[in-house]
């Protein structure tokens, strides 16, 4: 019972976020067109004015356009992120889900002056599993990884495949060897078990944490 209420909460939250991003795109559309119209008017030299003023206006218009584009991409990812919770289980491309989430996780890295590098692998299989639970695990794992990193180090996130399973590796570049051994990911294990996935530490430099996400058969969930 509690689980189903929780699931409904996640779905509701996802739908609210998706609706929000849709509305924001409409606002952005109006800002973009109004800004574009100002640009058109300036290009046509209807206003007159000296060159310095025109240049300043053009710069301001270009800046608005650039920020609109960045925000539009973020909203695109927010919408994707939100729609993942539409159903408890679905088939989804891991690279897409990760790209959406990393758009928002990058801020945490930036605040800590850690560089986030996303390296999506090729031919990564789509998996049938619980996408919003995976989003939650990625979020928690990402923050735990960040805690281990110092400014000017980097967190590289790599996707790969292991048979029919997809893998996500968090590579903590710059940490001292052996320091990852002391880190506990136990809090994440119940959620990973629910995905029927695994989490392993390893890698050439002992600085990798790899999450394996299986594709469940439809009857399993």
């Amino acid at each position: 019972m509690e689980n189903s209420i929780r699931q409904e909460q996640i779905e509701s939250f996802g739908r609210l976020m998706a609706g929000f991003s849709h509305d924001m795109k409409n606002h952005l559309g109006i800002i973009r067109e109004s800004n574009g119209l100002m640009g058109d008017i300036i290009e046509m030299n209807v206003l007159g004015g000296n060159e310095t003023t025109i240049d300043r206006l053009k710069k301001a218009i270009a800046s608005i356009e650039s920020r609109v584009c960045i925000t539009a991409i973020m909203l695109q990812h927010l919408s994707g992120l939100a729609h993942r919770s539409d159903t408890p289980c679905s088939s989804f491309p891991v690279n897409d889900l990760l790209t959406e989430e990393c758009t928002f996780l990058e801020r945490f890295a930036r605040l800590k002056q850690v560089k986030q590098v996303l390296e999506p692998g090729e031919d990564i299989p789509s998996v049938y599993n619980d996408p919003s639970l995976l989003q939650h695990i990625i979020y928690r794992a990402y923050l735990l990884c960040l805690e281990q990193l110092d400014p000017n180090q980097s967190l590289v996130i790599i996707t790969g495949r292991n048979g029919k399973n997809a893998t996500i590796t968090f590579r903590l570049n710059g940490i001292s060897q052996g320091s990852l051994e002391k880190v506990s990911f136990n809090n994440l294990l119940p959620a990973i078990e629910k995905l029927e996935g695994t989490l392993k530490k390893g890698g050439e430099n002992h600085n990798d944490i790899t999450l394996t996400i299986p594709s469940l058969s439809v009857t399993e969930k």
Binding site: A18, S21, H22, K25, N26, L28, G29, I30, I31, R32, E33, S34, G36, L37, D40, M44, V68, A72, Q76, H77, L78, S79, G80, A82, H83
Partner: protein, 125 residues
């Protein structure tokens, strides 16, 4: 040279009217409709060559409007605008006869390029 006749259908009045103004500045004869019913009336009484159609509107779904337009004038080419996170809704529109789709907020140059291609197709019909 014949002027392209364009209809912009979007419930966001400010968006539709600003985009229309930009189209007019480029020599495209543009009218606007702020809901599906109004769009179909304009298509019936004063058929445009091309339509820019928002997918999500309160009264009629964009896909319904698309089908209505195609039933009235199959040669009118429709470009759908979608604010949805995925491309699925745009692809569904193309399966139902739309010429193409664009994600909101649109890049004007992309839109003009698609309008040009759509008009070429319309002219051959």
């Amino acid at each position: 040279m014949t002027k392209i006749k364009l209809l912009i259908v979007d419930d966001e009045i400010e968006f539709a009217s600003t985009l229309a103004e930009r189209m007019e500045l480029r020599g495209i004869e543009t009218q606007i409709a702020n809901n599906g019913q109004e769009a179909l009336e304009k298509v019936y009484f004063s058929p445009p060559d091309l339509v820019i159609l928002d997918l999500k509107m309160p009264d009629m779904d964009g896909l319904e409007v698309l089908q209505g337009i195609k039933a009235l004038h199959p040669s009118i080419e429709v470009i759908m605008l979608t604010g949805h996170g995925s491309t699925a809704s745009g692809i569904e529109g193309m399966e139902k006869g739309a010429f193409d789709y664009l994600m909101k907020p649109v890049d004007l140059n992309d839109l003009l390029e698609k309008l040009k291609l759509a008009y070429e197709k319309h002219s051959k019909a």
